[in-house]
């Protein structure tokens, strides 16, 4: 029974983190078929920004996080104007943007490694899993309140994004652009501004996801690489551009990873996810929740 609770607790945490990262990726892909390989570095930057603001200003993490998200969003805008903005007209934009943002991400990562190598923190926000004032017992398993905060933040943010997409004009513009870029343009939607907005939103979410990551992982220039790949796996599993599906898939992937980590060994988590996803994709090549769509030319 204990390991079962353990799996659920850590699975929900992984799931929450992947959901935020994957939500951003799916939004950006939906809006203009861009897969942002620099998304991982934004997660890393989010964690660093949070550290920075929390330490410089002596703010508690909870107040530093929104500033970090804004900085992350700003970096997303920068990514747009450095790469995608100049490439929108390219024939196979889908492919070239992956390579371009891969280069950008690697350059940024190498830059962080060069200049912030000393700024290394061992899981700065992790809370001890022993029973104390910070945690409570479920069965025999101590669950820290921090985990609850992580789940709550993820849930609230996802709901806010949902409300934003369905209730506001800007959100409707994003969805319209995702449905048909040309029709949206004809309706007078400034699609390029929508692209910038989507990237800013996605990057802000990535930054928060990075802060969540720093609650159990070390803050390090390379920290974003692994979760980025898992977030990619999540959106592939869900079917590219399927936003609701991505949330379920994130939870599923988080649970599978936690199960393998608890029952087998830490290092086989990723392998298990990949095997699962490939099996799922052989069964449904367009993703679990995807429909076969005619590729947009």
């Amino acid at each position: 029974m204990n390991f079962f609770i353990q799996i659920i607790v850590s699975g929900l945490t992984f799931g929450a983190m992947y959901a935020l990262a994957a939500l951003g990726l799916a939004l950006v892909w939906g809006a203009f078929n861009m897969l942002n390989m620099a998304h991982g570095i934004i997660m890393t930057l989010g964690a660093y920004y949070a550290l920075l603001w929390a330490e410089i200003w002596g703010l508690p993490l909870f107040f530093a996080a929104p500033f970090a998200a804004i900085c992350g969003g700003g970096f997303g805008v920068l990514v747009y104007f450095i790469s995608a903005h100049w490439m929108l007209r390219q024939r196979n934009f889908e492919v070239t943007i992956i390579i371009a943002t891969f280069g950008l991400g690697m350059a940024a990562e190498a830059g962080l490694l060069k200049f912030l190598r000393e700024e290394f923190r061992t899981a700065p926000y992790s809370q001890p899993l022993s029973l104390g004032a910070d945690s409570f017992l479920v069965g025999d398993v101590p669950v820290s309140y921090q985990r609850i905060v992580v789940w709550a933040v993820a849930l609230v943010l996802i709901m806010l994004v949902g409300l934003f997409l369905t209730r506001t004009n800007a959100g409707r513009a994003i969805r319209a652009t995702a449905q048909s870029r040309d029709a949206a343009r004809l309706m007078g939607i400034p699609v390029k501004r929508v692209y910038v907005m989507v990237l800013a939103l996605a990057s802000g979410l990535a930054a928060i996801s990075g802060i969540m990551l720093s609650s159990f992982k070390d803050v390090h220039p390379l920290m974003g690489g692994d979760p980025l790949l898992k977030a990619f796996i999540v959106i592939v599993l869900a079917g590219l551009g399927n936003i609701t599906g991505a949330l379920y898939a994130a939870l599923l992937v988080g649970m599978v990873e936690a199960t393998v980590k608890v029952l087998v060994a830490d290092k086989y988590g990723f392998t298990a996810i990949l095997v699962l996803v490939i099996a799922a994709l052989i069964w449904r090549p367009a993703g679990l929740f995807g429909q076969r769509v005619v590729a947009r030319q």
């Binding site: 070239t96 280069g103 350059a107 990562e109 990619f232 796996i233 590219l240 290092k267 392998t271 490939i278």
Partner: protein
């Protein structure tokens, strides 16, 4: 067109054969042979990506797979590496065949993400492999080396063996010409595939996919063939790499090598016949020139990839083609005007 390529090939080959005898320093010969190795990998990648249109990021994983297979065969089965290379090549083909079988039915972008994930899984599995392998305790039970060597890497599996034949001074020439031979085979193979029915099928698919499909051209089948076949030479290159350095490590599957190779592909020109050679040469040369700034290396490589994708997505080869086409047009226009 074809004659011109043949002449260029012959000239380059002559230069490459003569290069070690032109009084160059030893480390330049070593750099050149590593360049041949990378050029082999990139030429096969170009075949997979540029010709067959498979956006695979698993080429580095296949390369590492070949290197590790060679290392494991040499170390645990005491196999002479010359027997280990073809086995590694075949093992790479089988590996790649299964990767292709799993991924190639999906859309192009899915392939990129899945193959990248496969490389990362391989990296994680090697990096975290720390259980002592009994195979390494045969001679000395106290040693604890894991099967793949884990984060430390694996050595002690032999080399090409040129040291015994050519002596302690000239063994590098043996390595050099072996690597050159591999590259030549890789280039001939690439050209042969491009000219063959398979190349024709991909050309048809590129020009008009619907029509080609309706005429019975199966994308999946041809892509799988090219993906698996190209893995043979990629894995062989991995084996040669392992033999030259005498050690393998998880850095063979890590992102920096992927970045280095992808920048060769991009700078040379994706899908261009001379792209891989050009890219490998330019980037190895740049690596040599900027050696003192090695801690800027990955920053620079990343920026190079970004800038090329924005401004020169066809690479240097594409740019040369465009310039020469414009020059010919200008030349004919001028001639017509002067004759009129």
């Amino acid at each position: 067109m074809k004659y011109r390529d043949l002449i260029i090939f012959a000239i380059l080959l002559a230069i490459a054969i003569a290069f070690p005898w032109m009084g160059v320093k030893r480390y330049l010969i070593a750099s050149a042979l590593i360049m041949f190795c990378y050029a082999t990998v990139v030429s096969q990648w170009n075949l997979v990506f540029g010709i067959a249109g498979i956006f695979s990021l698993a080429q580095v994983a296949i390369f590492a797979f070949g290197a590790y297979t060679t290392a494991v065969l040499g170390r645990y089965m005491d196999l002479t590496l010359w027997y280990a290379f073809p086995i590694a090549g075949l093992a790479g083909m089988v590996f790649s065949f299964f990767v292709g079988l799993a991924c190639l039915r999906m859309r192009g972008i899915y392939v990129a993400l899945l193959t990248l994930a496969i490389s990362q899984v391989m990296f994680v599995l090697i990096q975290t492999d720390s259980a002592c392998s009994p195979l390494n305790q045969r001679d000395n039970p106290a040693t604890c080396v894991s099967f793949t060597g884990g984060a430390q890497g694996l050595g002690g599996f032999g080399s090409f063996g040129w040291r015994d034949v050519l002596g302690g001074r000239n063994w590098i020439l043996g390595d050099y010409y072996t690597m050159l031979a591999l590259l030549v085979v890789a280039l001939i193979f690439t050209a042969a595939v491009t000219q063959s029915r398979i190349g024709l099928a991909f050309k048809a698919l590129r020009d008009n996919e619907e029509l080609a499909r309706s005429r019975g051209v199966s994308v999946f089948k041809y892509q799988l063939i090219v993906f698996a076949a190209s893995a043979f030479l990629t894995a062989m290159a991995g084996g040669f790499y392992a033999a030259h350095f005498g050690a393998v490590g998880s850095n063979l599957v890590a992102f920096p090598l992927l970045l280095f190779l992808i920048s060769m592909l991009v700078v040379g020109g994706i899908g261009k016949a001379w792209g891989p050679l050009l890219g490998a040469f330019l980037l190895m040369a740049a690596d040599e020139v900027f050696k003192e700034f090695s801690d800027w290396r990955n920053i620079g490589l990343g920026m190079i990839v970004l800038v090329f994708m924005i401004f020169l997505p066809e690479g240097v080869a594409g740019a040369i083609e465009a310039v020469s086409k414009r020059a010919t047009r200008l030349w004919t226009a001028l001639r017509r005007r002067s004759s009129a």
